[in-house]
Subunit: 395 residues, 2 copies
């Protein structure tokens, strides 16, 4: 018989998906100009030529048996060494290849990291607003997800609520900075305060509490933003990275996790990830992709359009009257909805204006909406009068 748990889930479409589907339906009925889609976090700039060339060179020059052969269970040694070196150079860390585990994007990295440092029945804390896939990533390990409500004035950490939610069964804390959906980057002060709290809680409970950092937007940080490398501030940390956004390769499913060399049992965690893969059927990212990212570790796509769009949109929205916490990076903005029910606000935008934005409820932060501005700048320019119309309509 088919599994009822997964069968039941197929009936429940995510709200983001509903907006996306509406946008496609409307475009099909009324023409592509009838829709300005801001619902999807898919990079809008191409992969850098150097990444394409790296793939082409491998295909042209390397022995295909070696190129496409099984990579070692714990990842291509040369790729692991190159990733470690790049992190050490850029962030003053001390990673060795033995601390790096190549994964199928950040999803793969998080799934391994969470299984490595929790056991069924544990609690993992995260912070609203958060990427809704954290629910299956965490519950898939058998742990529970506990959510700290948002500090909607800054989208930094609400420490008072965090302290309240802490309990002995908390084995990991999961953060995402730069953040989807708020675009906010945790400041050095925030990270220091978090590290102090976690250190204190480790002593209080007598066990390690791991900090898992979801960092796919690390390279998309705007000028002047304080953007600390989190693992520098807390030893028991695992950094989860993806090349999806920085190299515009989301479909290639290539990322890694990096275990802090100072973490408890640091040398065990990557071998444990090799074991975890056997149970989930993950078994390494593409061997071509592992090798192709090696020569482009210090490169990104031309990410400047995201900063241009952020500035344009932020200025326009605040001038119209929207309350917006200024994003420090990513390609997301998370304004306050002019009415309490962001769901109603977003459906009105979609149906009356063809403006596709998604309600904050999906990120456990009601009363807000997410704009994904990984789009051509002209789309922002077209959308501004519609955002104005919408604001007037509701205030």
């Amino acid at each position: 018989m088919i599994n009822e748990f997964y069968r039941e889930m197929t009936g429940r479409e995510s709200v983001i998906r509903q907006f996306f589907d509406y946008s496609r339906k409307r475009a099909a009925e009324l023409g592509p100009d009838s829709v300005l889609n801001f619902s999807i976090g898919n990079p809008s700039v191409p992969a850098p030529d150097s990444a394409t060339e790296a793939m082409q060179t491998l295909l042209r020059e390397m022995d295909p048996i070696a190129l496409h052969g099984y990579s070692p269970t714990l990842g291509q040694p040369s790729t692991k060494a190159a990733i470690a070196e790049s992190l050490n150079k850029r962030f003053g860390m001390n990673y060795g290849p033995e601390h790096i585990f190549p994964t199928s994007g950040a999803a793969g990295a998080l799934s391994h990291a969470l299984r490595a440092v929790t056991k069924p029945g544990d609690t993992v804390i995260t912070f609203a607003p958060y990427f809704p896939e954290y629910i299956p990533y965490v519950t898939g390990t058998g742990a529970k997800l506990s959510v700290v409500p948002a500090d909607i004035d800054s989208f930094q950490i609400n420490f008072e609520k965090l302290e309240e939610l802490f309990a002995p069964e908390v084995s990991a804390v999961l953060i995402n900075s730069p953040n989807n959906p708020s675009g906010i980057v945790y400041t050095t002060a925030t990270i220091q305060k978090l590290a102090e709290l976690l250190t204190r809680k480790q002593e209080e409970y007598g066990h390690e509490i791991f900090l898992i950092t979801d960092e796919p937007y690390r390279e998309i940080v705007f000028k002047g933003t304080d953007s600390p490398f989190v693992s520098s501030y807390y030893d028991n940390s695992i950094c989860c990275y993806s090349f999806s956004k920085s190299l515009s390769l989301p479909g290639e499913r290539i990322g890694y996790l990096a275990v802090n060399p100072k973490a408890k049992d640091a040398e065990l965690i990557v071998p444990m990830c090799g074991q975890i893969s056997r149970f989930t059927g993950h078994n390494c990212p593409s061997s071509l992709m592992q090798l192709a990212i090696e020569p482009v570790l210090y490169t990104t796509s031309d990410l400047s359009v995201y900063e241009t769009n952020a500035a344009l949109l932020y200025e326009a929205l605040t001038e119209i009257g929207y309350t917006v916490v200024k994003p420090g990076g990513t390609f997301y903005m998370f304004p306050r909805s002019p009415i309490a029910d962001a769901n109603e606000f977003c459906w009105t935008a979609a149906k009356e204006l063809g403006l596709i934005i998604v309600p904050g409820d999906s990120f456990e932060c009601p009363g807000h909406f997410r704009i994904s501005y990984c789009v051509p700048t002209e789309q922002i320019e077209k959308a501004i009068p519609l955002f104005e119309k919408l604001y007037r309509r509701f205030s």
Copy 2:
């Protein structure tokens, strides 16, 4: 704290791995000529040029944003349609794109198929000798693995023992034909008898019993071998395939599962796989690889060396005196050990002669050893006198 279950596993190295490591150590100490390695199932022939060209054409001609963008959760529609069509043409099936789910190789396919049709506490039956990774694949879903002992005279199914092991909590049966490690292909008669038994058990227990077929060696079948397409014979079936062996792309992690259109709830299973991925962090194979296999679905690498090696080795070993069931495909052979303890036999071969073969104990079939003959034919020729020496040594 780190997870004790996975930590403990890192200490337990597989026997296959121990032999592989010994072979590397010996080669490093005594030179590469001191070792004839028959322990690894890595294709020894390159990917066909057409596969490399397909990748190169995509990289040269396709818009990189589309090429490397997120593929839909349930897979690239054109790839799914092409796979369905190729199976329909070749095997007279009636798959639609909605029955095909691209996966990270057969490991990904099996992990999804098992989760889709079992629930924690169920039992999955498989047949010795079997690929040892079935243990984590099955237990990772929360189900138990129950193993039917081998029929060592034919390596077809031991139906008497299967019948004894059947119970109401059996929700799936997992077969691997052509088989690793025996090289045997289940005959049409075997598959028909299995289908009859499963149909009868479904009626007896009043619930579906799914047949999951692990088919990465489907294209490596030797002349004259009866090789039925299993899903033609039983409706509640899911075929799990990988291009690792047929296109020599094991490191690229590209395969699929195909749900029999006549299966109960056939139209639900692929959407369920999309949900399952969220819990395991799997999220689709590489988008480049999904698109690249489309034009090469009717192609394989030049697989003829495996048949040449099989014939040479089978003839030599039986002439020496070994008892061998003649393989019908794959690149494995599974002779009986001249002494009961195959482990001792294989270590003697490794240490005295540098002949690296692996004991059948790893495949839950003691008293046998596996030869992986995905090697240049000259290696077979060099090995034959050593197999003879070994046989004389023990008999």
